[in-house]
Symmetry: D2
């Protein structure tokens, strides 16, 4: 299991009239976090796509435990938790500046061939980067 931390500041347009971050933004926050995990692993998502494998999201869920507010510096802990068949799963825990857990999320992505747009084997680039770190592939 590969884990990664990143920080992300809440922008003004991410807030809504409640004064909190609108719930839709967590999808974007977690996408940023998982691609930073990959970059830290030595492979960018851009490289993976350029090599012909896309990773669309096929499942996503979030539990919103506490609101986030404008200008907060959030901390996202991301785990690449599973690669199984054509699926890749990430888990997220988001913390506010008081270090309170404010959100638990998970996303499942599918390895898809960029030409045929059909499910395919895991990206060789990603597998190589993972093997160089540690082997989580089932």
């Amino acid at each position: 299991m590969i884990s990664h931390q990143c920080k992300l500041r809440v922008l003004y347009p991410d807030t809504d009239k409640m004064g909190y971050v609108h719930h839709s933004n967590y999808a974007r926050y977690c996408e940023k976090a998982r691609w930073e995990l990959l970059r830290d692993l030595g492979v960018s998502y851009k490289d993976i796509e350029d090599a012909g494998v896309m990773l669309p999201v096929v499942g996503m869920s979030f539990k919103y435990l506490k609101p986030a507010v404008y200008d907060e510096l959030l901390r996202i802990e991301t785990q690449l938790s599973e690669i199984k068949g054509p699926l890749l799963k990430f888990d997220y825990s988001i913390f506010n500046e008081k270090n309170e857990l404010i959100n638990k999320g998970e996303t499942t992505l599918a390895f898809v061939d960029a030409q045929s747009r059909k499910p395919c084997h895991p990206s060789p680039l990603l597998l190589k980067a993972l093997k160089e770190r540690e082997n989580i592939v089932n």
Copy 2:
């Protein structure tokens, strides 16, 4: 159980470089759908907020079955499926122009007092509108 249908056209900025609707947009699509369900029921979410009750999302999940593309006219079937304590649950089925199910979603919202920002009883305005239609409250 109250159900509602609405149509929604995919806008250009909703797409990403894959050529599909980016997964984050489904949160916005379903928010539009549930407030149109309420409006159809005779109460707008704005009225509910103006009367002092907010409805932040506390849980959300989506299964992405097929992609949606630019300019498609999607059909969203929304169900107000449960009111239990301070929670309100909606289920969504999204269909493309070929009438294929492309997305299954659910969101759980909490009734929150706009002043204290604490969980509160269900909005009286919403309960009144529901009783006039049919009684789904457990």
Copy 3:
């Protein structure tokens, strides 16, 4: 000069913590309005792209006169004001529910060949649709 009106309801995520529509959303509102003008003219922007011509924005400006709020039904008056060389210009006036002018905008788009990604002649599909309505081409 071709003109068109459309209505558009302000969604919750379009608002920010000031309680107003965030200024960035007007770009999306006006994009929706101009493609509805084209659709009303008998040609969709999707058809234009599918026929090999893209219309990226090369200039955009807005004057924000009054704020818009959640759930307001805005009215957008759009004018296709000029086609000159590879450029296409639209002007927008946005009105609130009290019929007050709240925003004046303009966007300039370029006809671009989808393959070469270079400026090109105006879309034949668009020119045909315009000629059937009236001739504004300089």
Copy 4:
């Protein structure tokens, strides 16, 4: 004249089906850049709002010279170019990784009293921070 540079990576949802950054995102990019300029000056926009002064955008314009693509690390040069009456103006130049100028923008913001929602004198917090750096106030 106060100037500032920041870097910003293009995220996947910022792209559209053309494969470029959708034009609406530049408003968000420049908002991030100007608040980073203020933070660098020693005052955050959050502090300014918390002290009772809001800064809504009253004018915005962009010239799009070249497209930006996914994962590019853009560089934004921001200038706080003028404070005149209740107005505050920023200019932006955005460069791609090849150091090509891809976008020129400007935004005009108004100092607004958060209670009355009327134009007001420039934020004392901002003026103080500016005087400590250099005096640009006309």
